[in-house]
Symmetry: C2
Subunit: 329 residues, 2 copies
């Protein structure tokens, strides 16, 4: 729908000429009015170099099914998807937790198996500590899984509270309502425009008829037609005013709300970055604690002494130190 | 059984006196002859301060069931038990290997789960690397389990070859045979001793009978009896000689073989110490390699940039940067 030239011009010929001279500078798509891109000085971005949401989501687009989707809807879906991403990341961490708990359980069980429990002395001690170290490793992994739960998984699940979805719905409805209002105000403009055109045509016909003395229309009829035409013009102006107010309101709310969504997205990315760093910190810690379970084992292995073990064993198991001698006759 | 005084004494009374004066200095137990512990200067240990096998396993002992067990048998059992210990340690390592393989398998599977695969930009890259790091961890643990198998489990199972049990059997039979020989030679000594006693008693009786002119025994008979007595004395000497040779042989083999078992035990303890140190080395390595899987993740998390991600996303998903303008009338 193109906009019309101002009401009140008289000659059709002259009007046609004017239409040829005045290029179309604006276009209304889905009831939103844009400058035609080739006309006028270019608009400056509201937030240059920031790739801000408030600069890039004014038009509607078509989804794969052909339905119209507002730019704001695209922004909103991005936020809802972000919440889904958190949830999936938390699930991933949950799966890691389960794997760690299984590993810990297996190590713990094995540490209690009686293999070579009868080994004695310094070697026996070192072996016993080696077996125990598996229980220590199990503890390290249990601690890891416990911290994963409290310091990564839980925050991932909860840092956007339950209110998040409600807030998104609120924004959604608010912006959509402003668009709906724009639609009805645009319809009013179109209606008023048509009414004006009808009134103008009527006036023109009546004026022509007067000039060629076609009918018995009096000056009175023409005045009435002219009055109605003027009134229709006033109606149109009022409708256009209301429309422009509605569009301005929607514009303001778009800027405010899209910037809020932008802020929320920055917050989401930074929070996730922080939580994933916590994950890597916990992994580093875990590997270090795990290394330290080897220290007592290394120490005892260092102390393994075959001579000492022989002494201990011989003292316990010797049968007699008197050596045999020749029998006398 | 006590040893007898030398053959050839004449008066029973005198003999009894000699028996009272000569204390028992030796005792034969299970056909092995020992000094009585209170007699004679104390024996010096063959290897003082070493608690050597060759010094402490001369006597037999009784097992809980009351059967007689040689000192050598105790040493041999120790070596066979040592082989059992190795086997059990290897089983323990095998169980650890299974646990590591399970852990690696679980991490590997999880790394391929599609959670949050739709996250994009710098955050998406960091997340993807975090997921991949689980596959890297899995590789670290698989490498660990592989080295556990080749550098710890396998050597534990094989460092005493199949020949070990055969060798132990050979030693067992060899020493046991020498003891059996001692038993039969001791029996011969006892037999010869008894024969000598009989010959001596016969001579005594015949001599007495001659003195009191009891019988018609001639000098000839007494000479014969005396000859038999001397011969029995020679037999006894020969039997005692053979016995002593047999005991010396057994003694030598005991010293040699028990020292070999002692050496084998030192080797066993040192080898196991070395293999268990290899275990702790592998564990240290593993924890270090595991830590390094976090490096690329840390780097990418460092690079997470909400502004950059916004730019990437907006460039891809923007709907239009022309802002709406007022409608003209």
């Amino acid at each position: 729908m193109f906009c019309r030239t101002s009401p009140g011009s008289t000659s059709p010929a002259r009007r046609q000429n004017k239409e040829k001279e005045i290029k179309e500078t604006k276009i209304t798509i889905n009831c939103v009015t844009f400058p035609v891109s080739t006309s006028a000085p270019e608009q400056q971005l509201l937030k240059p170099s920031e790739w801000s949401y408030c600069d890039y989501f004014w038009a509607d687009k078509r989804d794969p099914q052909g339905a119209s989707v507002s730019g704001f809807e695209v922004l909103l879906q991005k936020q809802l998807k972000g919440k889904q991403m958190q949830k999936e990341m938390a699930e991933f961490i949950r799966e890691r937790i389960k794997i760690e708990e299984e590993y810990a359980k297996n190590l713990s069980k094995l540490s209690m198996f009686p293999m070579a429990a009868q080994e004695e002395g310094t070697l026996g001690e070192a072996w016993a500590q080696l077996k125990k170290s598996l229980a220590d490793e199990a503890d390290v992994h249990l601690k890891f899984s416990s911290k994963l739960q409290s310091e990564v998984e839980k925050p991932l699940l909860t840092f956007r509270g339950d209110n998040f979805k409600k807030d998104m719905k609120k924004y959604d409805h608010h912006i959509a309502d402003l668009r709906k209002q724009l639609v009805s105000r645009y319809a009013a403009v179109e209606k008023a425009r048509k009414a004006l055109a009808d009134r103008q045509k009527d006036l023109e016909v009546k004026t022509q008829q007067l000039e060629i003395k076609l009918s018995n229309k009096t000056e009175e009829d023409i005045k009435k037609a002219r009055r109605k035409s003027t009134q229709a013009g006033d109606d149109l102006m009022r409708c256009v005013d209301l429309y422009n107010q509605g569009q301005s309101k929607w514009f303001e709310e778009m800027v405010t709300t899209s910037l809020e969504l932008e802020r929320l997205e920055v917050e989401r990315v930074e929070t996730i970055q922080q939580l994933l760093r916590q994950y890597t910190t916990l992994r580093h810690e875990t590997d270090m604690f795990n290394q330290s379970t080897m220290e007592p084992v290394d120490q005892l292995l260092q102390s393994v002494d075959p001579a000492k073990d022989r002494e201990l064993w011989v003292k316990e198991h010797k049968t007699g130190d008197l050596r045999p001698v020749d029998m006398d006759i």
